[in-house]
C-alpha cells in the first residue's frame, strides 16, 4: 500500500529533541507527525526491560540540563516527569580508601578536609567561580548561534552582543572562562586542587563521550555543565528520572500528543523528498510516503544530509563540512541485573553511597592510561566508569531485593582494531566487570543478566552514527556557530523547508531539549 497524507511538519526521529520540537510546533497549532524508526520512543533516552522485571535506562541514564522552561511550557510533571536527585558521588581509591562528595555541603567539606584541608578551602571558591561562569555561559547555550561571516545587521548585532556579554564579565571571569575553553581538565584542576581522586573524578565530566583524555586541552569546559543544573534551581547537579530515562521521553511525548501531535513508531525514514531544492515530505523504508510543508530531522548530521538526501543536492562546502564533521563514538554502556547489592571494600555494606554515583576514577593517570588504549584503537582495559544503581533510588526499576546497575564506560572506540564482534563485545564487558570487581569483589556473583552496548551496537540499534552519544563530538571546532557546519548552525539547512533539531546542533549533547526548543523557535519564526 502507499498512503499519502498532508502535514504541516514531519519530525524525523522520536528522540527527546524531536519530541520537544514536535510539542512546541503542535503547541503553535501546527499539524505535526513524528516518525520513529524503533518500536519505542526516546532515541537514546529510553527505558527497556531486557530481563523480566528489570528496567534499564539503556543508554542515557542521568539528566542534568533539561531546560526548565521546557519543563514548564510542556507541563512535563503533569505527564509523569519526576526527577529524583542523585545524592552523592563516591570515588573508591586504589589504596582502599574513598573520596565522597555528598549533597550535604558540610559533610562534603569534612570529607575533603580528611584528604586535604587546602582542597577543602579551595573547593568552595572553585564552586563559586564555576557557578558564576555557568551563569555567564547560560545565555549563550540558549542562543541561536549567529553567522560570523554574515554582514547582515541582525547577525552583526548578535555578534556584538555576544562580544559585549563576554567583555563585561570582567577580568577574573573572562580569563577563567577562556582557560576553561582551552585547557585540559587535568591542568585546570591542577591549578586548584591536589587530591588525586577529587581532580580525577571532576575531570571525568570533560571526557564523557569525547575522543580525548583528561590531559587533552579543551576538556575543561564541560566542568561547567555540572554547575548549570544548579542555576535553573531544578535540582542540584545530576538527577535520575523516576521510571528511568525513558520516562522523560514519555512525558514529552505525552505533552506532544496532548497538544495534538501524531506520533508513529516503527516508521523508518528512507529519504527526504525534494522538489526543486525544497523538502516536501519523506519516504519510509516500507514505501509509505508523507508530505508536509516542512521536514525537521532530529537524527545526526551524517544521516540527515548524507543518507536521507542526495549530497549532490547540497552546496559543496556544506557537504564537505558534514563529511568531515567528527562523530567518533568512544563510550560503552554495561547494564547489569543484580541478585543483591554490590559490596564496595572502601565502604562495606549498604549505605547512602549506593544511592548516588560511584565513580571509578581513582587518579588522573588511571584515566589517561584508559585513553591511551582507545587512542590506538583498543577498548580500555581499566576504563573510567560511572556507576549508579537506579533501583536504589526508584525501587520500581527491579523486583524486591534485586537491583539494576547502570555502568557508563569510557573508552570504547567505535573504530576498534579489527572491528567489533560478539566476542569482543563480551571481552569488553568482562574488562568492565573485572575492573569493577577490584573495588566491589562480590559483583561477579550477583550478576543475573548482563547487557553490553558498544558504539557499534549504538549505531545498529539506536541509529547513532558511529555510536557517538552527542551526535557529533563536543570539540571546540564543532561548537556554537561551527555546529554542525559553518553558516548553517541556526537550525536551518541549505535545503529549503528542511530543518535540524538534534544534538548535532548547538548546544548539543545531553538531555537538555535545548536544540529541539531553539529549532522550534526558528521554524515558527520562518513560518
Amino acid at each position: 500500500m502507499n498512503e499519502t497524507k498532508r502535514y504541516d511538519a514531519i519530525i524525523i526521529g522520536g528522540g527527546h529533541n524531536g519530541l520537544v520540537t514536535a510539542a512546541y510546533l503542535a503547541r503553535a497549532g501546527k499539524r505535526v507527525l513524528v516518525l520513529e524508526r524503533r518500536h519505542l520512543l526516546g532515541g537514546s533516552a529510553v527505558t527497556e526491560e531486557f530481563y523480566p522485571g528489570f528496567k534499564f535506562s539503556t543508554l542515557s541514564y542521568v539528566v542534568s540540563l533539561l531546560r526548565p522552561e521546557i519543563i514548564r511550557d510542556l507541563e512535563l510533571p503533569r505527564h509523569g516527569l519526576e526527577i529524583l536527585p542523585l545524592e552523592s558521588t563516591v570515588t573508591p581509591m586504589l589504596n582502599g580508601d574513598y573520596l565522597g562528595r555528598w549533597s550535604d555541603h558540610d559533610q562534603t567539606r569534612r570529607e575533603l578536609y580528611r584528604h586535604s584541608p587546602t582542597d577543602a578551602e579551595a573547593y568552595d571558591d572553585f564552586g563559586k567561580l564555576m557557578y558564576q561562569l555557568a551563569y555567564a555561559m547560560k545565555p549563550i547555550l540558549g542562543l541561536v548561534p549567529p553567522d560570523p561571516t554574515s554582514l547582515s545587521p541582525k547577525e552583526l548585532l548578535s555578534l556584538a552582543r555576544i562580544g559585549k556579554h563576554f567583555r563585561d564579565l570582567g577580568e577574573e571571569q573572562f580569563y577563567a572562562l577562556y582557560k576553561l575553553m582551552t585547557m585540559s581538565s587535568a591542568d585546570f584542576l591542577d591549578e586548584w586542587f591536589e587530591t588525586e581522586p577529587l581532580k580525577a573524578t571532576m575531570a571525568c565530566s570533560g571526557i564523557i563521550g569525547t575522543y580525548q583524555g583528561v590531559r587533552s586541552p579543551g576538556t575543561a569546559y564541560v566542568l561547567l555543565h555540572h554547575y548549570m543544573g544548579e542555576i535553573d534551581g531544578v535540582f542540584r547537579s545530576w538527577g535520575f528520572a523516576k521510571g528511568g530515562t525513558g520516562a522523560i521521553s514519555e512525558s514529552i511525548a505525552g505533552a506532544a500528543r496532548r497538544l495534538g501531535a501524531e506520533i508513529r513508531t516503527e516508521a523508518s525514514v528512507a529519504e527526504v523528498k525534494l522538489k526543486n531544492g525544497r523538502a516536501t515530505g519523506v519516504v519510509l523504508e516500507n514505501g509509505d510516503e508523507f508530505d508536509a510543508k516542512i521536514v525537521v530531522t532530529s537524527v545526526d548530521p551524517k544521516l540527515s544530509f548524507l543518507k536521507f538526501i542526495d549530497p549532490e543536492e547540497l552546496p559543496e562546502d556544506f557537504a564537505e563540512a558534514i563529511r568531515r564533521f567528527r562523530i567518533r563514538g568512544s563510550s560503552g554502556k554495561v547494564n547489569l541485573a543484580l541478585d543483591g547489592l554490590p559490596n564496595f571494600t572502601c565502604l562495606p555494606g549498604e549505605g547512602p553511597h549506593l544511592r548516588g554515583a560511584i565513580s571509578i576514577s581513582p587518579t588522573i593517570e588511571y584515566l589517561e592510561r584508559a585513553f591511551e588504549d582507545a587512542k590506538y584503537g583498543n577498548f580500555s582495559q581499566q576504563p573510567f566508569m560511572d556507576v549508579i544503581l537506579p533501583s536504589m533510588i526508584d525501587p520500581g526499576m527491579a523486583p524486591p531485593g534485586k537491583h539494576v546497575m547502570s555502568i557508563f564506560v569510557q573508552y570504547a572506540p567505535y573504530a576498534l582494531n579489527g572491528g567489533w564482534n560478539d566476542e569482543k563485545r563480551e571481552a569488553f564487558g568482562d574488562a568492565v566487570v573485572n575492573t569493577l570487581s577490584l573495588f566491589a569483589p562480590n559483583i561477579k556473583d550477583l550478576i543475573l543478566y548482563r547487557k553490553v552496548l558498544t558504539p557499534w551496537d549504538m549505531e545498529q540499534e539506536y541509529g547513532l552514527t558511529q555510536g557517538n552519544i552527542f551526535q557529533g563530538e563536543l570539540a571546540l571546532h564543532q561548537l556554537f556557530f561551527m555546529r554542525p557546519a559553518p553558516q548553517w548552525a541556526d537550525y536551518r539547512t541549505p535545503i529549503k523547508n528542511y530543518y535540524q533539531c538534534g544534538s548535532g546542533t548547538h548546544p548539543g549533547g545531553g538531555i537538555t531539549g535545548a536544540s529541539g526548543k531553539l529549532a522550534a523557535d526558528i521554524i515558527l519564526k520562518d513560518w
Binding site: P148, R167, L169, Y175, Y178, K179, G218, A475, H477
Partner: protein, 531 residues
C-alpha cells in the same frame, strides 16, 4: 652608584637587543646586561670542539619582524637569511623517505610516490596554511588586544582584527577559525592519508611542547611555525648565514651603533623597586645600576618570582605567574662528524641533507613518544629534528667534516624517576644515536664528539625555565592576551617602569624579534606620554 640610564635591558638575547636598539635609536641611554660572556641568548654559535662551531641553542629562525629588519638595517650589519631547500627530509626506518621542497609543485611530485590523492591536495593545503599564517602574521606585529577593556580604542582594535579575518572571505575565514583549536591528527585526517607526510607535517605542531599530535591546539602551533615561511614551503627552515651567532652579532651591532651599551658577564640578581616603581638593578657581584625603566628579556616566571621581591606583586597576580606552564621537553645533541650520515636508500648526493632531517614516520610515532613524556619518562623512540649547517656553510667545521645540531623530543624536564644527572645525560645521547642509527646506520661510526644538553642543562645555560624553548609552553591557553599572564599581556608589568620583552610574551617563541619590536613600541608610547 653608577650614573643613571634611561633604560636597562636585562638579557642580551635578540629580543633584548631589539628593544635596546629601538630605544637607543630614539635617543635613550640604554644599558644591556648579559649574564654570559657573549650576547645572543639562545641564538648563539659556539666552538665546543676545536674547529667545530655549533648552534647550541636555537638552530633556525622564524619570520623576522619585517619592520625590525628594515629599521635596524640588519642586512647592513651582516644578516643574511638563507631559506633551506629542501625544507625537510623525513627518512623511513626501512629505507627511503619523503623530501619536501620549497616548491610545492616539486613536493607534490615527491608525495605522489606515496599517494596520488595526497599529491593532488598538497597545493590547496599549502595555500590554506598560507592564508591562515598570513592572518597570524598580521597580529604578531602588534600588542595583543585587551579583551575586557571597555575603552573604545581597545574595542576598535578588536574589531580591526575581526575585519582582517573577514577579509579572508567567508570560506577561508571559517576554515581558519576551525583550524585554530584543532589537533594535528584531525587536521591531517582532513587532508592526507600518507603516514610519513602526516607525521612530518604533524611534528611542526608539537615542537617544544609537552603535547602530542592528538592534543587540541597543536594545529595552532603548526601554524605558528609556518608564519612567514614562503608560500608552500611546509616545514621550511630559515637560517642565518654563518650560524645563529651571526644573527645575534647583527642585532648586537644594530644596538651598539645606535648607541646602546652592552655589558656581558653581568648577572642581574634583582630588580630594585622603590614605592612601587622599578628604579634599577643589582648584580650578583653587588654592583648596582639605576635607570628610569627596566626591561626584562628574561623568562617571565624568573622575572616576577626571582628578580622581583614578591612583596611588590598582588597574590592573585602571583598565582597566575606560578601557573605559567613551562613543561620543557626538548633536549639538544650536537655532533661533530667526520663524514656525512648515510640514510638507507637515500637519494644520491647530499641535497636531501641540506634542510631539516625529521624522524617522524607517523603521527602515532610522535604520540607514543609523547605518552612516555606525559608519564615523566624519556621517549623510547623520540622525535628528532636535525640540521647539518656545515653543508651550506663550510666555515662551521674543519675541511670535509660536519656539525649536526639535533633537537630531541620528548625529554621531560621533570623526570618521574631520577634527575638529569650524568647517567641520564649519557642515556639521552645514546638513545639519540641509536634512534638515528635505525635510519642512518653509519652514524655511530662517524661521530667524533657528541655534546648533549638535557632540559636542565638548557635551563642553566640559556636561562630558559625548565628548558622550555619558548619561555612558556605555546598552548592555546598561554598565547596572545593570555601571554605571559592574562591581564598583563601588553609588555607592561604590574610594577611601574618595568616591562617584559622575552619570548614569554606575545607572539611567543621562535627567533622573530616580534616580542622585542612590540615591547619597544609600547615603551616608546609610554615615554612620550610621560614627557
Amino acid at each position: 652608584m653608577n650614573d643613571a640610564y634611561d633604560t636597562i635591558v636585562i638579557g642580551g638575547g635578540h629580543n633584548g637587543l631589539t628593544v635596546a636598539a629601538y630605544l637607543a635609536k630614539a635617543g635613550q641611554r640604554v644599558l644591556v646586561l648579559e649574564r654570559r660572556e657573549h650576547v645572543g641568548g639562545a641564538a648563539v654559535t659556539e666552538e665546543i670542539y676545536p674547529g667545530f662551531k655549533f648552534d647550541t641553542g636555537a638552530h633556525r629562525i622564524g619570520r623576522l619582524q619585517p619592520e625590525v629588519v628594515r629599521d635596524l638595517q640588519l642586512a647592513k650589519h651582516g644578516l643574511e637569511v638563507l631559506p633551506s631547500d629542501p625544507s625537510v627530509y623525513a627518512p623511513l626506518p626501512d629505507g627511503g623517505g619523503l623530501t619536501l621542497w620549497r616548491d610545492p609543485q616539486k613536493s607534490a611530485e615527491e608525495i605522489g610516490r606515496f599517494s596520488k590523492q595526497d599529491a593532488s591536495r598538497y597545493g590547496d593545503f599549502a595555500a590554506l596554511i598560507d592564508k591562515a599564517t598570513g592572518f597570524l602574521a598580521s597580529i604578531y606585529g602588534e600588542p595583543p588586544i585587551d579583551p575586557v577593556s571597555t575603552k573604545t580604542a581597545d574595542t576598535m582594535d578588536g574589531l580591526r582584527i575581526a575585519g582582517r579575518l573577514r577579509r579572508l572571505g567567508k570560506h577561508d575565514m571559517m576554515e581558519v577559525l576551525r583550524i585554530l583549536p584543532m589537533n594535528m591528527v584531525e587536521l591531517m585526517d582532513d587532508w592526507f592519508e600518507t603516514d610519513i607526510l602526516r607525521g612530518t607535517l604533524g611534528a611542526a605542531g608539537i615542537t617544544g611542547i609537552r603535547q602530542g599530535p592528538y592534543s587540541t591546539g597543536t594545529a595552532f602551533l603548526f601554524l605558528h611555525h609556518h608564519v612567514g615561511i614562503t608560500t608552500g614551503a611546509l616545514r621550511g627552515i630559515l637560517r642565518p648565514r654563518g650560524g645563529m651567532g651571526s644573527l645575534s652579532a647583527a642585532f648586537e651591532a644594530a644596538a651598539t651603533t645606535n648607541g646602546a651599551t652592552i655589558k656581558t658577564g653581568s648577572w642581574v640578581e634583582r630588580i630594585d623597586v622603590e614605592n612601587g616603581k622599578a628604579i634599577g638593578v643589582t648584580l650578583v657581584s653587588g654592583e648596582k645600576f639605576a635607570a628610569r625603566r627596566i626591561v626584562s628579556n628574561s623568562n617571565p616566571r624568573h622575572t616576577y618570582l626571582d628578580l622581583l621581591d614578591p612583596m611588590n606583586l598582588q597574590p592573585a597576580f602571583l598565582h597566575r605567574v606560578r601557573n605559567i606552564r613551562m613543561n620543557g621537553v626538548c633536549a639538544r645533541v650536537n655532533l661533530a662528524l667526520d663524514a656525512l650520515p648515510e640514510f638507507k636508500d637515500a637519494p644520491a648526493g647530499d641535497a636531501h641533507l641540506r634542510g631539516a632531517i625529521s624522524i617522524s614516520p607517523s603521527l602515532n610515532y610522535l604520540e607514543k613518544a609523547y605518552d612516555n613524556a606525559k608519564h615523566g619518562e624519556l621517549s623510547e623512540k623520540p622525535y628528532i629534528e636535525a640540521v647539518i649547517p656545515s653543508l651550506s656553510d663550510p666555515t662551521l667545521a674543519p675541511d670535509g667534516k660536519h656539525v649536526m645540531s639535533i633537537l630531541v623530543q620528548y625529554a621531560p624536564f621533570d623526570l618521574k624517576e631520577g634527575v638529569w644527572d650524568d647517567a641520564n645525560r649519557a642515556k639521552l645521547g645514546d638513545l639519540t644515536l641509536e634512534t638515528l642509527a635505525e635510519y642512518a646506520p653509519n652514524i655511530e661510526s662517524i661521530v667524533e664528539h657528541a655534546h648533549v644538553l638535557t632540559p636542565l642543562d638548557i635551563e642553566g645555560m640559556f636561562g630558559l625555565a625548565e628548558g622550555n624553548i619558548y619561555h612558556g609552553e605555546m598552548t592555546l591557553d598561554q598565547i596572545y592576551f593570555m601571554r605571559p599572564v592574562p591581564g598583563w599581556a601588553q609588555y607592561r608589568a604590574p610594577v611601574e617602569n618595568l616591562y617584559l620583552c622575552s619570548a614569554g610574551t606575545h607572539p611567543g617563541g621562535g627567533v622573530t624579534a616580534a616580542n622585542g619590536y612590540n615591547a619597544a613600541q609600547v615603551i616608546l608610547e609610554d615615554s612620550k606620554k610621560k614627557k
